[in-house]
């Protein structure tokens, strides 16, 4: 799966948890750009992403991801590690 396809899937998962209607989501998008993206919905978003990609973010990374781009990088790294 290439970077763009991973990003598309990530945005699709995001839409199941957060209201992103009318928002153009890109790698720079962060919690301030999306209504209702607070710590509780962020947790639900992370769990949905983990389930979709079959990965688990390390604990310390959970608090360091500041935007969609950070999350995308982490997913790509975790998928690479999982596939050897």
């Amino acid at each position: 799966m290439d970077r763009q396809e991973t990003l598309n899937q990530l945005i699709s998962v995001m839409g199941t948890v957060l209201d992103i209607k009318g928002i153009v989501v890109g790698e720079e998008t962060n919690a301030y750009d999306v209504d209702g993206w607070d710590s509780l919905s962020h947790a639900r978003f992370v769990l949905a992403v983990e389930q979709h990609f079959q990965i688990r973010f390390p604990g310390d990374l959970l608090f360091d991801m500041e935007n969609i781009g950070d999350m995308l990088e982490a997913i790509i790294d975790l998928l690479k590690a999982a596939n050897g």
């Binding site: 209201d19 209504d35 209702g36 710590s39 509780l40 919905s41 947790a43 992370v46 769990l47």
Partner: protein, 533 residues
Amino acid sequence: MELETISDHIIEMTKANGDAVFCHFLSHGKTQAVTRKEFLNRASAFAQSYGLLGIKKGGVVIIILGHHLDTYCSFVGAMLIGAIPSFLPLPSAKQDPEIYWATHKKLLARIEAQALVTTREGKSAEQIPNFPTTKVIYAEDVQSLDETNYDWEVGQSADIAFLQHSSGTTGLKKGVVLTHQSVLNNIDTYAQVIGLGEKDIIVSWLPLYHDMGLITSFLMPMVHGIPFVTIDPFEWVMRPTMLLEALEVYRGTFAWLPNFAFHHIVNATFENDRWDLSSVRALISCSEPCKPQTMEEFAHKFAAMGLAGTALQTCYAMAENVFAVTQSSVTEAPRIERKGEVSQLSCGRALPGVEIKIIDGSGATLEEGSIGEILLKAKTLFDGYFKLPDESRKTLKDGWYSTGDLGYLSKGDLYVTGRKKDLLIIRGINFYAHDVEYAANQVSGLIAGRCVALGVYDDTSASEEAVLIAETEISDAVVLKGLKRQIKEQIFSHTTLIIKSVEFVPKRWLIKTTSGKIDRSQNLRKYHAMKAK
């Protein structure tokens, strides 16, 4: 021998069995079992450091630390020398550290704190200012002791044990003064009411700067020699089902949670998730209005995983009474009553030694079933707010404490319906602001959780009218018009209240307290100021 102080209890228990588990400390996938002896040893190291720095009996020691064993040890360490510890929250990632420390500097000066215990870790540590009279102690610099010292002058039962700081603007935080005898009395009574025994294990993700975490999941198990399992609050928010994992692994029997946490756990549980929750005796909802639908949703989700039908319980508590005021019976599900259009969940009966009365605006005691302000009297009540005599006089009259909460008594049970200023009385009919806001929050287009319902006196109707102030990022007038209609329809269908006006305001217009609650009185003032322009 009568044990007069909280510290006496941990000293005597450690002497009796120092190898018993004090707590299981969970952090980022690692677990650490800490014995009583290890705990007291580290607490003694803090006590020694305080002594060497000249911290005296009665001196206030402020502790600002995250999820770390030293957070617990530094607190008990202060009590070992008769000093007065108090937890305050760390700055959140989104808070400006400069503003955070500037306001704390004022607070520490006002309460004449002798020491601040914190850490060099984290971005905010670089901004710690110079305090003129408060000594800064970094937890990582405190050297551990080779031998545990049991010989401390811990003080007497009437001494102040600690301060419990309220939420609210930092500079105005009020320190609830609690003596050892009040704390031990409330803890013992509460433990008896819930039937806490030596086989129990308490599991918690609660922060210690809040009375629920401090009392139920640290001091009560410590005093009763019961192990507790502690989870990082920040980690828990991201992985809420950690609590269920810990309950299963450690065969946990009790946990305390606010209403939102039950909902958060349900939302984070996937279809195939399974835990054995058969060890759980009670999950107690407290510190937020307890909603019947939240409890039902949780019970439905976890009944098949062994959660007993009576496990979901309720409690009404406040720092001014150490903690618990009422508790539902742990052997049966809390009662639910219809009050007008709303289902109310009982918070149970008053603890032995606690008297409750409900009063109206003139101070007259109301009969059963009538809603009014909850007042309470108990020998475990606080001794006022630290260095704020006027504030203390306002809330404590003739031994009765005015809680500012609204509720009613029915068949011996207390039902809490909201805060005093949360009640909108529109042409003689009562509406709860929480319910109005809940309804408005169902409409998409508003910033989630960022609206407030206020009762505003209107000359033309000679009555209060309901106004909803809601944050939105939408600016298109046509869209806003449709949104306003949707909100009014939604509120009416939920509550039968017709809102007079909906005021849209930009993002971050509304004022919140430091604990994240919408500050009604401040927002009412801000609304009047906006209208006066």
